[in-house]
Symmetry: C2
Subunit: 145 residues, 2 copies
DNA sequence: CCCCTAATTGAACATGGTTTTCATTTAGTA
DNA sequence: TACTAAATGAAAACCATGTTCAATTAGGGG
């Protein structure tokens, strides 16, 4: 299980002058110790291990804040729902395992050629992009045989 | 306004042995004559011009079918909602105007280098990808000044 | 260390998009 | 034209997410 920098996350919250509540700590810990994508309901459920009285409302509010300050990336699932994965700073995307939901970040998407070509063909000004790779993680590959 | 091949769409439905109902015809006509993305409610509203008794339920069912047979692409908006745009056969993606919602298709995404690099770094087997460009269409660019 | 207050919280309720149910209608075939 | 499986629509259910508001609490100032 990957463990990302829990203290770093807490510092980020403080740096943006958000209070460090038990509820937020619990959510942070869940995010810091997962190696998959999680949806809000699952995060809430897991967070209750540390903070039993936390409500879904607070989970959503915390996720919003974390996405705002860039500590979290919202992933878009084919069915339209969201899940969340911790995000390193900078421009990254996620590769998601269709078997188990594990999500890993990658960087180095170079779409400039594609973007330039599309822009000149369509007259659009391209402002951003949205990219996700779907695949199968090593564990899920071996399970298959 | 772009007009895509209405008869072709009807043939596709028949080829998959779906019945050609007045409701489905109405939805097809709406899709065939739009130049933007449309959400289900809007499609229903427009379809009532030709088939006043059509219900939202049927619109959703028809959209599902069309997405299944590849005649339609489901677009995912940043807020989590869906809209739909006609899809040419083959591997394409959409470029969406964040101003007015107009959507245009493009092809020729070449992600092989990126995919190979990510696959070898992570051990994942990459099975597919999901790409959308966001930008501003020519009309919306001039409106801005 | 304790106050104070603005920030935060959670239960209940509201919302909006989508799906399910089920009795009725209809397209396409024989 | 008669038949039947497929398709339909109104209503209700569902589910993720947002809003409200009275009660609680984190954390800076005294
Ligand atoms: Mn990128
Ligand atoms: Mn592609
Ligand atoms: Zn996996
Ligand atoms: Zn536009």
């Amino acid at each position: 299980m990957r463990v990302i920098d829990l203290e770093g996350l807490e510092q980020q919250l403080k740096a943006h002058s958000y209070k460090l509540t038990r509820q937020r700590r619990a959510v942070l810990r869940v995010l810091a110790t997962t190696d998959g994508r999680l949806d809000a309901a699952r995060i809430c459920e897991d967070a209750r291990a540390e903070c039993p009285e936390i409500g879904l409302t607070t989970v959503y509010r915390t996720l919003d804040i974390l996405a705002d300050i860039g500590a979290l990336r919202r992933l878009h699932l084919p069915d339209g729902c969201h899940s969340y994965a911790p995000a390193s700073p900078g421009h990254r995307h996620h590769l998601i395992c269709v078997g188990c939901g594990r999500a890993v970040e990658f960087e180095g998407c170079d779409l400039t050629a594609l973007v330039d070509s599309v822009a000149s063909k369509t007259g659009f000004e391209v402002e951003g992009h949205w990219l996700q790779l779907m695949g199968r993680c090593p564990e899920c590959q071996s399970k298959r045989k």
